[in-house]
């Protein structure tokens, strides 16, 4: 049993049940905006897609290839800035900006890769942080290009047209919802393809033992760079998407260490090196941080009558829980790492396995 379970990470073939389930979920996701009108719900879903894309792309280089980059903000920022600079200062529609963003992210990833991949382990981690910081500082200082600390504000998003017909004008959230959904599905599909190909095997071999992999004919720098490039492309897409959606970027919001950490967190909470890990991670993190932040917990407590809003406890909760969410968040991170070292997915697997026995 143990060996079989060990292999779950390399699932081959899917059961009919899971295929049906998958189709139903997919259909549900595509119909969601038709059924749910609330822009707030759509917004949360969009954040969820964004987070999935980011986590999934980190997973390729971090989870499969074992290169724990804590500098993915670099690619996120590359995508965001390219798209915004082109759109705002050169009037190039974001559609092309996204593609240009990918190109820029690829170049950045090659540069970063050629520098950082010569390093291993903790040195790589720190070098990746350093490069992302350099990017942030450059965005800060290259005022003519990036508008520096003032950031770039999108005045209008030009409508997306194909052959003269307007596909969408970006006025509501629905187009963003679908763009996010499609990119997220694309990212997951690419991860699936990678895992079930030579690349996946090579990536994992590199993760386990670089020297051994090297001796078995794996060109370390090529394959690490491929992993990073794939990862960078999708992270950059996430960045472009973010920029267009939010309409404003500045160095601290798209190039900060914070973002890099967030990306890693998504994977680890969900389960690293697995296809669904980042999805699960986003599923947990996005609603959770939203609930914590907007003090839904205290409201819930009042609703079920655990404490009255006017009581001392109530006032304390109202006053402090909103401030405390970052604290609670930190505690959650610590608890997950200590008690679910393989992420939520790994934990669930362990539980179900125990029951099965």
């Amino acid at each position: 049993m143990r060996q079989i379970n060990a292999l779950i990470t390399n699932t081959r073939g899917a059961s009919p049940v899971s295929i049906i389930l998958g189709v139903v979920i997919l259909a549900g996701l595509f119909l969601f905006p038709k059924a749910v009108e609330s822009p707030y719900a759509l917004h949360i879903m969009i954040l969820f897609f964004l987070s999935t894309i980011m986590g999934e792309s980190w997973n390729i280089v971090g989870g499969y290839t074992g290169q724990y980059s804590v500098g993915h903000a670099a690619y996120f920022g590359a995508g965001a800035y390219t798209t915004m600079v082109l759109m705002q200062f050169k009037q190039i529609p974001p559609w092309y900006g996204m593609i240009a963003g990918i190109a820029v992210a690829l170049v950045v990833s090659l540069i970063i890769g050629s520098i950082c991949f010569r390093l291993r382990g903790p040195y790589f981690v720190l070098a990746s942080i350093a490069v992302a910081e350099i990017m942030r500082l450059c965005a800060m200082n290259l005022k003519d290009l990036t508008n520096g600390a003032e950031g770039i504000l999108a005045t209008d998003i030009p409508p997306f047209t194909l052959g003269g017909t307007v596909i969408t004008d970006f006025l509501s959230k629905v187009p963003f919802y679908y763009i996010g959904l499609v990119i997220a599905i694309l990212t997951i599909a690419v991860t699936y393809l990678v895992q079930h190909s030579k690349l996946g095997y090579y990536f994992q071999a590199i993760r386990e033992d670089q020297d051994a992999a090297h001796s078995l004919g794996i060109n370390l720098s090529i394959y690490k760079n491929i992993a990073l490039a794939i990862s960078a492309v999708f992270t950059s897409l996430a960045g472009s998407f973010y920029a267009i959606y939010i309409g404003f970027i500045d160095p601290p919001t798209v190039l900060a260490l914070d973002i890099s950490v967030q990306i890693v967190l998504i994977c680890i909470i969900g389960g690293i090196g697995t296809i669904w890990g980042p999805v699960v991670g986003s599923l947990v993190l996005v609603p959770l941080s939203e609930a914590l932040r907007s003090n839904l917990i205290a409201q819930g407590i009042f609703k079920i009558g655990l404490a009255s809003e006017e009581s001392g406890v109530g006032i304390f909760l109202k006053d402090h829980l909103a401030h405390a969410h970052a604290l609670i968040y930190g505690i959650l991170v610590v608890v997950v790492i200590l008690f679910m070292p393989d992420g939520v997915l790994g934990y669930v697997k362990k539980l179900t396995k125990k029951k099965a026995m």
Binding site: G62, Y68, V70, I115, R118, L119, G121, P122, Y123, V125, L126, A127, I129, A130, V131, E133, I134, L137, C138, M140, N141, L257, V261, V264, L265, I268, I272, H320, H323, A324, A326, L327, Y329, G330, I331, L332, V333, V334, I337, L338, P341
Partner: protein
């Protein structure tokens, strides 16, 4: 020339404090192989301690390190015992996230207690200086530089020459083998993290009279500590010392001869260059 000397000297002096932060991180990394992302936050706790000693009991910051060191040691030891020890065998990214989580808890707890106000600790000598020729040297920085130097020497002697020090290094290199030599590795880890925390706390204390304190201050210094340790060679105390001074000087000269905005870029580029040409850091032993 005056400008050059002035910035060189202030760079060296501030580099001393950086070195102390770097040494703490290097020891923790050396023994636990854990990159401590909460290092700056630990330093921040040290700063608040100093601040409280000063504002509540009137203890001079430089004197208060006699209290801060043991207290921070204890704090680090407890952290190690309750949290870090549990993830020593875990994946590196889990360790990273654990320390990030701990850092979040520390900074937000402090925010709860002290609000996020900037606290400023003003001593009679906070902005006093003396002159050598045309160059002015800040008293508090000069004193903290001397204290740093003394601590560094002591620590070097401890790790290289005493059995306990060697046992800490042995634990760093192979925990299982160290156990088989009769070394209590848990104690060594606790000792190491305690020392790391004490050093970070001391750095916080030393910088308090000339700097300011708020709950989110940690991250800047965590980043700096990383750069310093890698520059010097992770696990090397002498390396961290040199790294600290180099960073101090690079920042200082970068600000004058390039621009304040680009000075951090100078630091990071320097960092990458060292990594490229000497991947194990200036004093690190390259491994095969």
């Amino acid at each position: 020339m005056t400008i050059f000397l002035q910035s060189l000297i202030s760079g060296i002096l501030i580099g001393g404090v950086y070195a102390l932060i770097g040494i703490g991180l290097t020891i923790i990394f050396g023994v636990m192989r854990v990159i401590n992302f909460a290092h700056g936050d630990i330093m921040m706790i040290g700063m608040y301690l100093t601040y409280n000693f000063f504002s509540l009991a009137g203890v001079d910051p430089f004197v208060s390190i006699a209290l801060t060191i043991p207290l921070m040691f204890l704090f680090g030891a407890i952290l190690q015992k309750t949290f870090i020890n549990r993830v020593l065998g875990a994946l590196p990214q889990n360790q990273i996230l654990l320390t990030i989580g701990l850092g979040l808890i520390m900074s937000n707890t402090m925010m709860f207690i002290y609000t996020s106000d900037y606290k400023i600790l003003t001593t009679s000598y906070s902005s006093s200086s003396f002159n050598i020729g045309t160059i002015s040297i800040s008293w508090p920085l000069a004193i903290s530089f001397l204290i740093t130097a003394a601590i560094t020497l002591l620590l070097y002697w401890f790790l290289m020459k005493t059995d306990t020090g060697q046992a800490i290094r042995a634990t760093a290199q192979d925990r299982e083998a160290a156990q088989l030599m009769g070394i209590n590795v848990k104690r060594m880890s606790i000792l190491a993290f305690g020392m790391g925390a004490a050093l970070a706390g001391t750095a916080g204390a030393l910088i308090s009279p000339t700097y300011y304190i708020f709950p989110q201050i940690g991250s800047t210094f965590t980043l700096k500590a990383f750069v310093i340790t890698v520059l010097g060679g992770m696990g090397s105390i002498v390396g961290a010392t040199i790294g600290g001074v180099i960073i101090g000087v690079a920042e200082s000269l970068g600000a004058v001869y390039i621009s304040s905005g680009w000075k951090d870029v100078v630091v990071f580029v320097l960092f990458l260059l060292v990594l490229l040409f000497k991947p194990a850091g200036l004093l690190g032993k390259s491994k095969m």
